[in-house]
Amino acid sequence: MKPELDATPRLAAGVRLSETNQQPRMLLMPERALRLNGPSLEIVLHCDGKATVRQIAEELQKLYTKAEPQRITDDLLGYLELLRDQRAIDF
């Protein structure tokens, strides 16, 4: 099930980003760590419980100006769904 465009994703309980001085940035969670780079890091940084999925898509559009807007939204929704199924974010 895809997330709604009005949903406001946030990191799930027990999930946090590694410190800024650690490279590459990692999403730390129970017994796992997810390496973040490029767009995946941008997306996770916006999962603050305030920005809507639609707003995050707009922010990504500003960074990746050459990409098709629909494509950006589709990829974003796919990635958020994956993060939710991993219990890395909730809405």
Partner: protein, 367 residues
């Protein structure tokens, strides 16, 4: 040249002291006493050394890690060193004030062990009454936004209570639930005859868990650890020997896995004398079964060797008498018939006087 990958996790066995006496405890039969436990400052140094090596996670376990008086200080130090801190606990010594202090110190995640769906089962397995207290801990945890894993160790005596355990999961909605079949080492090995589930129990359990996985999708991750005596291929034990994980026992002995001390002839280093990095890279115990040069046939030429690393070294020793042998649970292992014989014996009806014939070997609490 050093091509050794960095371990992901440091398993810190802070103490072997524990108020529970679980019959499948993974601690060694010979436990470390309080007087030889590492002091606070050595643990703090280890956390910093671990992070400098690239380790991301510190898993505090035991025994019962809360039996350490300095637990809050240790959590603060590990978090301060840049590690993600998990506490693997029975929850028994946890009260409101202790939990608040741990969260304030930076605890990221609690893994709470629960012995079954009822007080009766819990008492039978752990020799103590803890179930009601665990339920209170689950409620108290709702105050905080930290990670929660509910951990149920599954075996013949509680596998039929699975629905009751799932009810608890649905009520408390943890980020993760683990249904971990007993692994047969240490105390679990000693009590194996009463812990191994039957094939029929296992089949029912797998179906129930599959169903729950779908129902809980997006709410709770469901992890099932199969009883490997029933598996076709062995588990990739600890993600490969000396590859992903480093365990420090209460007295500072550095081990490649929980049970490694059962393997005769291995020489372990101690963090009191040697740095973590040096142990990881050069300790003979860590190098002994690292990579694949040590493997025997059929593993040596098997395509699965990169996936399962020949299974578990401790199990190979315990069941086949040779720690370099193919894990006997593997269907391709020449010693697989010995595992089949153990399973066949389990499927005989349990004698009515099982308690007399096969009394539990409860794990004692070391001084």
């Amino acid at each position: 040249m050093n091509t050794t990958a960095t371990p992901l996790a440091l398993v810190a066995e802070l103490t072997h002291r524990c108020p529970l006496h679980c019959v499948y405890c993974s601690n060694p039969l010979e436990m470390v006493k309080r007087e030889t436990e590492l002091p606070t400052e050595t643990w703090v140094r280890i956390f910093h050394e671990a992070r400098a090596m690239g380790v991301l996670q510190a898993d505090f376990t035991g025994g019962e890690p809360l039996a350490r008086k300095d637990i809050v200080e240790l959590v603060r130090a590990a978090r301060g060193a840049g590690l993600y801190v998990s506490l693997i606990t029975s929850g028994l010594p946890l009260d409101e004030a202790k939990l608040a202090a741990l969260v304030e110190a930076g605890l990221d995640h609690i893994q709470l062990s629960i012995q079954g769906a009822s007080e009766k089962t819990g008492r039978e397995i752990s020799g103590t009454s803890t179930h009601a207290h665990k339920l209170r801990v689950l409620t108290e945890l709702k105050k905080y936004r930290i990670g929660l894993t509910m951990n149920f160790v599954i075996h013949r005596q509680n596998i039929d209570e699975l629905e009751g355990m799932l009810k608890l999961v649905e009520e408390h909605q943890p980020g993760c639930v683990e249904f971990a079949s007993v692994q047969y080492y240490g105390w679990g090995f000693a009590n194996r005859a009463r812990l191994l589930p039957t094939r029929e129990q296992l089949d029912n359990c797998v179906a129930t868990i599959k169903n729950a996985e779908q129902r809980l999708k997006g709410i709770t991750r469901v992890i099932f650890v199969v009883p490997d005596y029933y598996a076709k291929y062995p588990k990739p034990c600890v993600g490969g020997w000396g590859r992903k994980l480093m365990l420090i026992s209460p007295d500072g002995t550095a081990l490649p896995c929980h049970a490694a001390m059962v393997i005769p002839g291995l020489c372990f280093d101690n963090v009191r004398e040697t740095s973590l990095r040096e142990i990881w890279e050069t300790s003979s115990a860590f190098r002994k079964f690292r990579g694949e040069d040590w493997m025997l046939e059929p593993c040596k030429s098997c395509d699965r060797r990169h996936q399962d690393f020949a299974g578990c070294r401790c199990q190979a020793f315990l069941l086949a008498g040779n720690p370099a042998a193919t894990d006997p649970v593997c269907s391709l292992a020449p010693t697989r018939p010995s595992v089949d014989a153990i399973l066949a014996a389990i499927h005989n009806p349990i004698p009515a006087n099982a308690e007399e014939k096969l009394p539990w070997v409860y794990r004692p609490n070391p001084e």
